[in-house]
Each structure stands twice: as C-alpha cells, then as structure tokens.
Symmetry: C2
Subunit: 261 residues, 2 copies
C-alpha cells in the first residue's frame, strides 16, 4: 500500500520503518516542523512537507501519528477528502469516530509499546489493537497490521481507552518510578546500573506470578515502622513523599482485598 | 561456615539455599512459627525450632532475616551471646548498630533483590551490600558473600537506607503499577499477558537510556487533555485516581527539571 504519514514522532518513526521493511511504499511525511518531517522522510526515502495543502491525495492509507489533542484539528483542516483511501490514527485514547464527519473509510491501529527514537524495537513482538469503520476498512487495516506484527487484536474505542490507561500505569508510571529511584541514587553518588538486576527480576516475575502475588516490600507487609522512616527520608522531596504515601496506600489496599478473597 | 538462620521468609529461603549450594553447613532454622521453620529446615537438611532458647550456640554465623521491626526485640531477647560468632542481618533499612550493645562481631549483608518463595533466582546476579563492625567481621562477611554472588559492594548504614528507599521505588512501586494495570485490564476482561511486551521493553529501555530520557506518555508530553480524560476514567477508584495525579505531577516535574538543565 502507498502510505502518507501525518506526524514524525516516536510512534510514526518506528511504525513507518516497520511498514517500509514489510514492502509498503511511503509517499510522503507531513509534520508541522519541517526538520522532523525531513529526518523521517530521508530514512524512508520519500518527500517531506510542513504544509498541509501539499499533502498528496493519491495514497491508499493516511496514518496520523500526532499528539492526541492535535488530531481533531488536523483531520478537520488538513486531511485530503479521498473517497477510497483509508484514514488511520495510532492513539490509544482517541475514539475512532473523530474521523466520522469527514471521511468514509477509517480506523485505528494502536501499537501498545513505548517508543524512543534512538532505541530500535522488534515490531513483530508488539501487540497491535485494531478498530475500523466498516468491513472493507478492517480488511485493509488487518493487511497492514499483519505485515508488521503477529499480535493483532480487535478492540472498541471504549475498551482501548481503558487499555491505554492500564498501559500508562504499566509503562509510563513504572518508568517514572525508575526515574525517581535514579534521583535518589544520584544523591548518594550511586550509579543507576546497580538497580538493573532488581528491575529485570521485577519485570520477569510477573511473567510467572500475578503482580498481586509478586508484590513485596514494606507496604505489602504492612511494615509501618519502615514506611514512617522512609517517608521521613523524603522530607526534602515533597512530591516524591506524597507519591510514597499514595502508592503505599494503593499497594496495601490491593493486598488486603486479595487476602479477603 | 556453620550457619544458623533466624527467620524463614523469602530472603532467608533464597539466601540460605544459595549458601548451602556454595558448601556452607546449615545447623538450624529458627522461626516464630514452627511450620515455616520446618519447611525451610527440611530443604536445607537441618533442625528446626520455634523456641528461642533452643537456638544452638556453636554456629560461626547467625543470620537474621526477619521483619525489620522484629529485629531489635529478637537480638535483645533471643540471640545467643557468642563471643566469636558473626551476627548478620539482611535488612536494607535497619542500621548495623542494632547489634552493638549485645555482641562483638556483627554486620549486614543486604541482597538487593525481590524474592518470592516459589520463584527461583540466580543469586550470582544479585548485588549484595556489606557493612561490618570490624575488619575481622568484614573478612568473614566477604567470604560468605563471595561464595554466592559476584556483585559485592561495601555501604554504610546511612547510604544503605537511601539505597533501600530507591529499591522500594524501582521494585515495590513498579510492581504496584503492574498490579493496578492488572486491575484495570481485569475490569475489561483483558488478560494481563498482553501487557508483558510493554513491561519488558520498559525495563529493557533503561539498560541503554537513562529513565529520564526514556520517559514517555501523557505526563511527559504535558498532554493535559489525555490526563484529564484518564483521571475521569478513574472516578470510581479514588486511590488510583489520586495516584494518577501525584505520579503525573512527579513525572512532569522531573521532565521539566531535565529540560531546564
């Protein structure tokens, strides 16, 4: 299929490369900043533009991979009104029907993964969640998805929203915890690397145990003395102190509920 | 060395097995509940007891691996007062000098890992942090640690406390995020397994990028619309909603500070 990319961020970069490798042709990359459009276009061997009116009208698929709150405006103002093309966005939290008033065939292809531009990923391992406006759109979306991953699920907008929220906890918030640990270690002159075996085992554990079964630490044990003490250690970091308290309450409650069951 | 274990929990189980495999002899396992003492003692092929007065006085090392807030009482009331033996605890947050008033040679061997009884771990990969009352104690502690791991560090009680706090963030809080994600998925009838590629990549990423560089998601992007929306989705889960807000504030602040630098 001939693809036009709207957006040149992390998701666009990784997904466009995976689709190009699978043999799809990229016609053009559009981005509000010509620099990022050009960088990605060069990697894909296609044209770049930062002018919406220059978006070519002859693609089979237009894939929007931009900040969630920019999608609405972009669809209304910049998208070519092609009858036969398929219009797709890649956002977890944006409902499919943002396309409804403007185009005929549309859908969502949400790859649930964390992408950083400089870190290559194996796309085949990434679960992709699809939703489409009609059978024809779903057929084309499936074809696109199948060419780059083996893990394909269909999911409605409502359920995708919940899935995206769960992913924020399991990825963004997890990484936030890593970042705070790094902060604490730095203050002691300790390298973040010493945390890696613990981080790896924490992730590995939930492959064979449910997270609730795997939960350890002061909050899970209800070890009030240690918690008090650690809260005191965070006195100069009020936001992290607040987080410590809230997180410990959440963990304690989850454990209690499980024990009651 | 001849070892007596005080405690039969997760840390005691894994560390005692690793030391037994390295050729050390276990004389006895003491625990307040005879059942858990017996289970571990059977695996180690030694005696079990739940009576403090029965703890044998002829060991080379007594290793305390019990709840942090039980250590003080146990040392005062139950530990044999052997002049030459080495007394060790394995707790991240408890200072070494809890032993000071009672025994002569003492120290700390803190293995920074998350242990669940049913999940085997490769002890060689686990970083172990040592502290000792005197040179002789450190020599024996090193000998013990060297026999089961390659990653040995010396660390004072104060710095170990901070390290333990960082580990609570990087492990216990991370697992708490997994558990909350599981809760959200369950409510949608989605299996936790679909999260595993994302969880693995999130952990893998911080091997090559600093957590701050690796941070993605609505809070890192300052995507207010998505955050508002996700906060609304958590209306019926007030503790998780609170956590969402606090965590997003922490992540946003960390990102801002980085960008200022």
């Amino acid at each position: 299929m001939r693809i036009v990319w709207i957006g040149a961020g992390n998701v666009a970069t990784h997904l466009s490369m995976a689709l190009a490798q699978a043999g799809h042709e990229t016609l053009q990359v559009f981005s509000r900043t010509i620099d990022s459009a050009s960088i990605l276009a060069e990697r894909l061997g296609c044209m770049a533009t930062d002018r919406a009116e220059e978006i070519v009208p002859n693609a089979d698929v237009y894939i929007l991979s931009i900040k969630d709150d920019a999608i609405d405006d972009l669809i209304e103002q910049a998208l070519p009104r092609c009858e036969d093309a398929l219009f797709v966005h890649t956002a977890g939290s944006v409902p499919m029907n943002v396309f409804q008033p403007y185009v005929r065939h549309f859908g969502v292809l949400y790859p649930m993964q964390t992408f950083s531009r400089t870190k290559p990923v194996d796309f085949k391992e990434i679960p992709v969640f699809l939703e489409a406006s009609d059978e024809d759109a779903m057929k084309r979306l499936r074809e696109l998805a199948t060419s780059c991953t083996e893990k394909i699920y269909e999911l409605s907008s409502d359920r995708r929203k919940q899935l995206h929220l769960a992913a924020v906890f399991a990825c963004n918030f997890v990484n936030g915890c890593y970042a705070m640990a790094e902060d604490l270690l730095k203050a002691q002159g300790l390298p973040f690397e010493i945390m890696l075996p613990l981080i790896d085992e924490t992730a590995r554990k939930v492959h064979s145990l449910s997270p609730l079964m795997a939960q350890t630490g002061p909050a899970a044990r209800g070890d009030v003395e240690v918690m008090k003490h650690q809260i005191a250690l965070l006195e100069d970091l009020p936001e992290m102190q607040e987080l410590y308290k809230t997180m410990s309450r959440c963990i304690y409650r989850l454990k209690q509920e499980k024990d009651i069951k």
